[in-house]
Point group: C2
Chain length 446, copies 2
């Protein structure tokens, strides 16, 4: 609380806090100076948390959101992938349960001719994370140094790594602060966090998958649409073609939840099979990646091309190549038994006849976390083997005593609570529920 | 940002932050736990600053404000003055320019039979502080230990000291944080800060002087009235008779601004003289102190009694007694020349004929600060000798070349800027301005 707290040339943190508190629009300079000073450690957490709360409650204009994204992006390095001739396109999801699309999309878009420099996160709360899924593959390295990341990209057109220290350090510091100060829930801050990291990947275009429903961060379609529009406009303002699909996360995506299980299901899709909903979403997202990457003239053409590459096994071969290049055991593709296996399993049986009306997605995700498949706190380690396989999805018929799901577990003390949550998550009705679209809405940049 | 940041039994700071962020009403337990944890240092500044910003933007209910006041009060000691039979009544002003009423009121109410345990503050920004004025008296001690404070009270019925470490430590910590996080400007937080310290004085009743106008913290009457009502309700909820007067601070109070000069003018009033506006306000405030202290049946009676005690010289004698008991030189009462004297003086002359239409109060206060008579930062020391004497007030006629004010200064490098500010502060019009009431409004508790 010394004076140094609010110094640095003509910029004073206290003035920026007050301006936002009073509903003013901050200039690019003010936002840039605040983020630079915080990243350097020359303004304290307590000033930034007050500012963050003012942003949560006062909001930001589109210009402020882009300026914040830009300031966070420029707090670190931007990958220079200009040496790679192909268009660089990434996909980002706001997070859900059973969402293993990244594992399918990176090799699928790469084999079509797009370069996919994918930097992903870990699971937190009830949602899974791509890095945790990849690490279920024995030997797979997600922490490649940037030159090695670039080499894998050059060789096979896709690479999947974790956040590096060089990329958007402001976001890491801000996110840690937001997490403990009740300032996570702001579309402006969420947008800047996501977009600053994605723009640092040196991409030409971005496809966003904004989830909505009981398993999503944005529970309502309205909130999801707002965030989607904000991210698309921010991406376009930063000169990148950006598209957002708003997709359903009211029940888990696909049938398998849990890290090793999700690798198995992703491989099924890459082999041309897999559950319909997962396959459909992969084709939709891949089509947009191919279209924005200049490979397909239309989205419809991109979808056809993607379906062909799944059917031919070419996408799967590219996945195999990437796994090998990143140190993983490609044997898991041919024999899922070489993935970590849970020691025990137990079925969840239906207590009555009827139709599955709902599978409360956050509860299913939390059941997987309780088994050890996710983390309640950042420091927690993850058990790759555990998880849940759903035998029924929303709309399916079920008879009394028939299995709804199978739980794969290693710790007997945890299975009971997981079972209870799964039973609670599942609503059964006498008549079939109204059908829900998987793809709810598209937001397309200019 | 560790987990310890949000632990402690069933109370989690993050939950309290989120609840206030979302516009919820906090319970007495939640507010109490937050303030207790912060005072003990078991939750960090960055969580409390986020919560403070949420309070600034979401507001508080009357119940929350009283709970916050109570929690801050209970962070430290409450003086036990039950050994003194007389009613204990204090007066608090929200701060202004030339406001030396406390120096008059403490001995005046004391000689009438009320006990006045007055704990005051220092000047900050453009406003003066009672402690700085008292310290202009050679030898006067404002930092009496509590037993000595009690002894002075018992002997002469009034004593005037500075904040002690034992009283409301939560307020000291919170105020320092609010000062650097843009969270000062909230009537709820201002109310809790003022009332927690006043309630800790062990008083039976409180008279509040809420200033409004260009020299006040609350520029608008509406904001002043809101704060006044909030403080009165909070005081009454805590079982103390509380009254607020909303009074004009659109021009300085009295004619003298500066620490030693204000002692001179207070002594003038105590001697039965002094400028009309200052004398009127002292009588109004004293009347309420006497009425709430059970000395006068009505406020009108209290005013008559107070006027008598000024005319008879009894109030001045009580002031002399208090000055002596607190180590000060009572000679200053008989010979103002024994107060610190500035080496130089300079007149501010009117550039035209007309009526004084305004004396922008914040500018006049700032001129005094520039001369060295106030502090821009808490660490600054104060020059007791410097200041300004106004020869004209709003509504007075002035001819071209006639003096509006005299500046008393010690540093030639500062006088020019002070002179310029005084000239700017003074608006002269051809016709007399409409008259303004000094007492704008009263808020009386149940």
């Amino acid at each position: 609380m010394s004076d140094s707290a609010s110094s640095a040339q003509t910029f004073r943190a206290i003035d920026v806090i007050r301006k936002k508190r009073d509903g003013g629009e901050l200039s690019r300079f003010e936002i840039g100076a605040l983020i630079a000073a915080y990243t350097q450690g020359s303004i304290p957490d307590y000033q930034v948390s007050a500012w963050l709360m003012a942003v949560v409650l006062r909001g930001m204009t589109r210009g402020e959101t882009a300026a914040l994204t830009d300031a966070m992006l420029r707090s670190g390095e931007v990958l220079d992938l200009s040496g790679i001739a192909a268009k660089k396109v990434d996909k980002h999801s706001t997070g859900g349960v059973g969402d293993k699309t990244s594992l399918v999309l990176a090799p699928l878009a790469a084999v079509a001719g797009v370069t996919v420099p994918m930097i992903s996160g870990r699971g937190l709360g009830h949602t899974g994370g791509t890095l945790d899924k990849l690490e279920a593959i024995p030997g797979f390295h997600v922490n490649l140094p940037v030159p090695e990341f670039r080499r894998v990209l050059e060789v096979c057109g896709c690479a999947m790594i974790g956040q590096t220290a060089e990329i958007a350090p402001a976001d890491r510091k801000l996110y840690a602060l937001r997490d403990v100060t009740g300032t996570v829930e702001s579309p402006y801050l969420i947008c800047a966090s996501i977009m600053s990291k994605k723009m640092a990947e040196g991409i030409d275009a971005l496809v966003l998958d904004v989830k909505t429903g009981s398993g999503a961060f944005m529970k309502s379609e309205k909130d999801a649409a707002f965030l989607a529009e904000l991210m698309v406009e921010t991406g376009e303002r930063m000169g990148k073609r950006t598209v957002a699909l708003i997709t359903d996360m009211d029940q888990p995506l696909g049938n398998m939840i849990g890290n090793a299980l999700e690798v198995v299901e992703a491989v099924d899709v890459l082999r041309g099979g897999g559950p319909q909903d997962l396959r459909d979403l992969c084709l939709e997202l891949a089509a947009w990646m191919l279209h924005l990457g200049g490979i397909s003239k239309t989205v419809a053409e991109g979808k056809q091309e993607s379906a062909k590459l799944l059917a031919s096994g070419k996408a799967l071969e590219r996945f195999r190549e990437m796994v090998e290049l990143q140190g993983g055991d490609p044997g898991v593709i041919d024999d899922p038994k070489t993935l970590p296996q849970a020691r025990h399993s137990q079925q969840v049986l239906s207590a009555k006849d009827g139709y599955i009306a709902s599978l409360q997605c956050e509860q299913v995700g939390t059941a997987c976390v309780i088994l050890g498949g996710g983390r309640e706190r950042k420091e927690d380690s993850v058990d790759p083997a555990v998880g849940i396989v759903l035998h029924r999805k929303v709309g399916d018929r079920v008879g009394v005593g028939e299995p709804i799901a199978t739980i794969y577990y290693n710790s007997g003390s945890r299975v009971e609570r997981a079972q209870q949550l799964l039973e609670e998550s599942c609503g059964i009705s006498d008549s079939p529920p109204s059908e829900k679209r998987l793809l709810i809405h598209r937001v397309i940049g200019n």
